[in-house]
């Protein structure tokens, strides 16, 4: 077949940050299929140099508004690892609650406001307000509840205030936690169940495309890994978080201000679908039922199903948050001060699952507690090579369709990854110098 195709989507809409999709086919031969990242770099690693450990998470949270809690958690963990700051059980539980809230809010935003318009053939969520009012009100209610977890536990859902190295500057009250619990039970869970129904009704519009790849996420022996665990690859198994560079292997490509990454193959995938494939058996019962209802099965190789895995995680996060609050209330809340007395200086690494996938921060501190070097590896950066590989397989499979249809398939593919382009270009590495180990 001799077919020519030239697609150029400039500044793709309904994604975080700026990216272009460029596909070029000449006489049936695919010459180019890539997601170009044109977001302006912000040079965070350079900013971190010389900053105090008190300010590191304040800076890195600004890498990305939508992932601010995730960056903050990972940053705090890297600092605590470097400075030897032990955490209380209460601090860890409150952080896990925050991670659930942030995952819930981000997944709701993505599925309802960015993906659903594609499935309903609308250019945005706004025209859907009069026609689907109940659904939109439900989405706003779920987002409000998720954000209230952030506002109450961390002071502010975007760029949280209270989480600091070693703990929290303020602990929420028993009454506030009970109120969140009540809303999770009375609104949160019922709304999640309704979401499952809504998404199931639209699921016919999800393209049927299959490409097996390597799936990488955290893995923990006790729970569905979001806040802690080791690195797990579906190809190469478990790796210690401190050895993350042996997994990410970053490299610069000319069409992207964000670096690409690869491990066992030419690309790998991170995010909700990778977490599902690697850890599905540890989800809560409601989440597993939601997956069954939505036809999401283990070892799912369709990247478009990432949005469905996000819905399943909404159920998990809501249900798990109730369990965490119960545990906190049972232990009795203590008005603890953060532990900010370093026991050592040097290098430390932190890793978290943020909504878009596994995130790494690594810092090196001098003896005054100031940063000497920093490195951060962002989920979207890790997914970019995988998106390019998907496009290379997808385009020849759908080449018989109209150009508009092909473009829509490609846009939906990129959106399914929930790419956070702002994030992906903001941090790249600084070389570590081995001179400050005590």
């Amino acid at each position: 077949m001799s077919k020519n195709l030239d697609i150029n989507v400039h500044h793709l809409t309904r994604v975080e940050g700026h990216g272009n999709i460029v596909v070029n086919m000449k006489e049936g031969r695919l010459e180019k299929a890539e997601l170009q990242i044109v977001e302006a770099p912000r040079y965070f690693e350079a900013m971190l140099k010389g900053r105090s450990f008190h300010d590191a998470a304040i800076i890195t949270s600004r890498i990305c508004g939508i992932c601010s809690l995730g960056h903050q958690m990972t940053s705090l963990k890297a600092t605590e690892d470097a400075l030897g700051l032990e955490l209380s059980e209460q601090t860890i539980l409150l952080r896990k609650l925050l991670v659930n809230g942030a995952t819930l809010q981000s997944n709701v935003l993505h599925v309802y406001f960015l993906v659903a318009p594609d499935l309903l053939n609308a250019p945005s969520v706004f025209p859907l307000i009069p026609t689907h009012t109940d659904v939109i009100l439900r989405a706003l209610r779920m987002k409000r509840l998720a954000n209230d977890i952030g506002d109450i536990v961390s002071g502010r859902a975007v760029h949280p205030i209270t989480p600091v190295p070693g703990g929290f500057t303020k602990i929420p009250s028993v009454g506030e936690l009970k109120e969140i619990r009540r809303r999770l039970v009375e609104e949160g869970i019922p709304d999640v169940l309704e979401t499952v129904k809504t998404v199931k009704a639209l699921a016919g519009g999800i393209p049927n495309f299959v490409r097996e790849t390597e799936y990488i996420s955290l893995k923990d022996k006790n729970e569905y890994a979001l806040y802690e665990g080791d690195i797990y690859s579906s190809d190469t198994g478990i790796t210690d978080v401190h050895d993350y560079r042996s997994i990410t292997n970053e490299f610069v490509v000319p069409h992207s201000t964000s670096k690409h990454a690869k491990n066992a193959r030419s690309s790998y995938m991170v995010g909700a679908l990778a977490r599902w494939n690697n850890n599905y058996s540890q989800l809560t019962d409601t989440a597993l039922k939601a997956a069954e209802e939505l036809g999401l099965k283990p070892d799912c190789y369709n990247p478009y199903m990432n949005s469905v895995a996000q819905v399943v995680e909404c159920a998990h996060c809501a249900e798990d948050s109730i369990k965490i609050i119960d545990q906190l209330l049972e232990m009795g809340l203590k008005d603890e001060k953060p532990n900010q007395t370093p026991t050592k200086y040097g290098k430390g690494t932190g890793s978290n699952e943020v909504p878009r996938g596994i995130l790494f921060h690594e810092y090196e501190y001098d003896r005054r507690g100031n940063i000497v070097a920093a490195n951060c590896i962002i989920p979207t950066g890790q997914n970019l090579a995988n998106i390019d590989d998907d496009m290379k397989k997808l385009v020849p499979e759908i080449i018989g369709k109209s150009k508009a249809d092909i473009t829509k398939h490609l846009e939906m593919l990129v959106r399914a990854y929930d790419p956070c382009i702002s994030c992906s270009v903001h941090l790249l590495n600084v070389d570590f110098i081995d001179d400050t180990e005590s």
């Binding site: 690693e45 350079a46 250019p123 975007v158 205030i161």
Partner: protein, 255 residues
């Protein structure tokens, strides 16, 4: 049954993002309880993060992010030409914010640190607030932008009035909330020199003010020095903290 009201002429608004974390836009989407009411008064004609449409002109353009590449400069001129009123959203747009910290190091070094020998692939400029390139009509401060201030400005503009600009320091709001002063806990707080309007949210949650809303007009440097000395704290720490968000306008405040 109410009869249908005559269609009001809605003001056309647009949102644009430059070099930023998109947190200000997100904070706006977090107005869940107000969003549908706000949409009664305005028509959103362009908002890349949420919709596919594009428009030719707007009554009010809300802009997030700093200017940091040659392309940003072209885009902001273009938007200014199409917009009757231009509003800077958040510290990145109003004062350069966190992005301007990179300006403290020579630009070539910064690019080299991040991209190594591939640095020539990606052109960059020092990070600047919008006002360094075009006329800005109003500013909504904060990182992220303060929601009450956004609602105040938004409502004023929707009614054709001029918004109020706060210029007292954060300490005023902090004292009204009867917070324990963080200097007494040995923290370096930038409240005495930072512009209010956030209801002293950070000190109210036990955390020092980082100066994210920019400084008050004529910040009282000597008063700040006195507080630091009284509490046995070093000026250097305050200086470093000031650079988090104020590197563009105030790199030398304490020099």
């Amino acid at each position: 049954m109410t009869t249908q009201t005559a269609p009001k002429t809605k003001i056309k608004i647009a949102y644009f993002d430059f070099t930023s974390c998109e947190g200000c836009q997100l904070n706006k989407l977090n107005l869940e309880n107000h969003i549908l009411d706000l949409l009664e008064h305005v028509e959103i004609v362009e908002f890349r993060e949420a919709m596919d449409d594009k428009a030719d002109s707007y009554d009010v353009a809300f802009i997030e992010g700093s200017i940091s590449t040659p392309t940003c400069v072209e885009r902001i001129h273009d938007i200014r030409r199409r917009a009757k009123i231009l509003v800077a959203l958040g510290s990145c747009a109003s004062i350069g914010g966190i992005n301007a910290m990179k300006n403290l190091q020579p630009i070539e070094d910064v690019r080299e640190i991040v991209y190594g020998e591939d640095k020539y692939l990606f052109p960059t400029l020092p990070a600047m607030p919008l006002s360094a390139i075009v006329k800005v009509d109003y500013e909504i401060h904060g990182c992220p932008m303060s929601i009450p201030e956004f609602l105040q400005v938004f409502k004023a503009l929707a009614m054709g009035k001029a918004p109020i600009k706060p210029d007292s320091p954060v300490c005023v709001e902090c004292k009204l909330r009867e917070n324990e002063c963080l200097f007494d806990r040995g923290m370096v707080c930038l409240g005495p020199i930072t512009r209010s309007g956030c209801d002293a949210i950070c000190p109210s949650f036990g955390q020092f003010c980082t100066g994210c809303r920019g400084l008050v007009p004529n910040p009282n440097k000597n008063a700040m020095l006195d507080i630091l000395t009284d509490h046995g704290l070093s000026l250097q720490e305050a200086e470093k903290r000031l650079l988090l968000f104020n590197s563009y306008q105030h790199p030398d405040t304490f020099k």
